[in-house]
Amino acid sequence: MKPWQAVLLRLFSRKVVLASAVLLTLVVAIATVFPWVSDADPGAISISERLQAPSATHWAGTDELGRDVMLRIVHGARYSLLIGGLTAAGAVLLGTLMGMLAGFFRRLDAPLMRLVDAMMSFPDILLGIALVSILGASLWNVMLALVIVYTPRVARVVRASTLVLRELLFVDAARALGVRTHLILWRHVLPNLVSPVLVQLTFIFAYAILAEAGLSFLGVGVPPDIPTWGTMIAGSLESSDKAFWTILYPGLAIVFTALSLQMLGDGVRDLLDPKLKKAS
């Protein structure tokens, strides 16, 4: 068995982790494939069918404009996953760079980390609101704002790991051999950061989906004509008393996706954290 097979086998030995991975794969697959095989328009308005309860034709009912809620959830998955995935990727890239610099170069440590402290002294959602209001509410700006919000979190984790790695023997040895600093960072430090960063990636993925929904709810998020799970709930607030399914199902989509992502992240953490291995 190859090493990566062994790792996957251990990762999926926990049933919840396996179930989460399967569920996520399904969500991603449906989100990518469905718009190719069906040309049903998620924005198709049908006033005669407005606010119908879930039925065989409309699995999750229809909203205040008679649009099919299930169809919009499927299309919304693309946007919600895009926002979550790109935000997580961006925050992880920037945060890893920042954390490695702070952790490896003593001189950069204090200024970078004070900046991180300052940014983290605002509640996430408030910083998000302020940033979106500066950048203007659009799909890309919401992502950019969330990247800025979550970068300090990654930077803190990566710095802590880098501080430990910096003192390890193989880094010392590389330094003694005269390996240049950027190569030490690239070949010896970065590969050892993969596990903590991977954990952060899954968690921020989930948080970003939640944060986008929150921002859209407050009216400072993605424009309402783009069907994300967040804008679906925000758009149906008025009819929530009469037609609760318009809010219930997009919310459930968020919950299940975020939960699966975090379960998967937790599985990766258990797998890669030697301290936990000892304790259990």
């Binding site: 929904a213 929150g214 709810f217 929530s240």
Partner: protein, 315 residues
């Protein structure tokens, strides 16, 4: 002493950065508050006059210096829209937010600490795994969505609690608390997830310590070990996290305040952002961040009193 000074210096530096960030955030924002304030009817001369009146015509560094100068004298400035000093606007909005935050942290602690302890004591069991999954679920639910569900269930269907608002300011305390039950439940339930995970982790940390093994080896009954040796030591980090959760909640309650239409600090910020009410945004964000920095600092300093090892390590 050096540790305390260093820590204090760090906090002051962070606050200075926060002030710069807050100022930069508001001034980078698109949209002109004066145009919004005066409406479509205003002439160019009116707008110019108003800009001069509010000091918005001066160069940015001058505006920043003036703002910091006022801050040093404890003056947060004057709202552009509310006809109130920012500090007064904040004070008027403080009560719902503070009460909500305290109630929510209370609920989170009542659920989170016992559940986390149980999960740590019976770690690896089915109960532990179930609790860990529930904790993860708490971090996956959008707060406004849970709020909407609770409103449907307990306010619309059952009519047990009011769905929104905070009642009359002169109404008795019990009536105002009634309005806070559902929002506090939302925030309490969601934050208990974090507390469960944290309590479990810090209990497990302590369970691995030598003195716990010693206590068991000398034949102390298990519950004595748990209460006297494990829980006591685990409580310090747990109380810290509860404190930080409380600090982050002031301002972090903004979404829940909007769902339940509570006239709190978060609500104040959102309205200010939508209207570009610079002084209010600046003042509120600064106060919220300062509260967080100070609670953090206080906890660190308390640590050095409780645990002398920390002071020594910092040297």
């Amino acid at each position: 002493m050096t540790f305390m000074l260093k820590r204090l210096g760090g906090a002051v530096l962070v606050l200075a950065l926060v002030a710069i960030l807050v100022f930069a955030l508001t001034r980078l924002a698109s949209g002109d508050p004066v145009a919004l304030l005066l409406g479509d009817q205003a002439t160019a001369a009116d707008i110019e006059a108003a800009r001069t009146q509010y000091g918005l015509d001066k160069p940015l560094p001058t505006q920043f210096a003036l703002w910091v100068g006022e801050l040093m004298q404890g003056n947060l400035g004057q709202s552009l829209f509310l006809q109130l000093p920012v500090s007064q606007a904040l004070l008027e909005r403080a009560e719902p937010t503070l009460m909500l935050a305290v109630l929510a942290v209370g609920i989170a602690a009542l659920i989170g600490v016992p559940c986390g302890m149980a999960a740590a004591i019976w770690r690896g069991s089915a109960g532990d795994q179930a609790l860990s999954s529930v904790a993860m679920l708490g971090a996956s639910v959008p707060s406004f969505w849970l709020g909407l569900i609770l409103i449907q269930l307990f306010a619309v269907k059952l009519g047990w609690f009011p769905a929104s608002g905070y009642g009359d300011p002169d109404s008795p305390l019990s009536e105002r608390v009634q309005h806070l039950v559902l929002p506090a439940l939302v925030l309490g339930l969601l934050n208990s997830a974090l507390i469960i995970r944290f309590t479990r982790a810090s209990m497990l940390d302590i369970l691995g310590e030598d003195y716990v093994r010693t206590a068991r080896a000398k034949g102390l009954p298990e519950h004595t070990v748990m209460v006297k040796h494990v829980l006591r030591n685990a409580l310090v980090p747990i109380v810290t996290v509860l404190g930080l959760t409380l600090a982050l909640m002031i301002g972090g309650t903004v979404v829940t305040e909007t769902v339940f239409n509570l006239p709190g600090v978060g609500n104040l910020v959102v309205r200010a952002v939508l209207r570009r009410d610079y002084p209010v945004i600046q003042g509120t964000l600064l106060v919220i961040a300062a509260v967080y920095v100070f609670i953090n600092l206080a906890i660190d300093l308390l640590y050095t009193v409780v645990d002398p090892r920390i002071r020594l390590e910092a040297k």
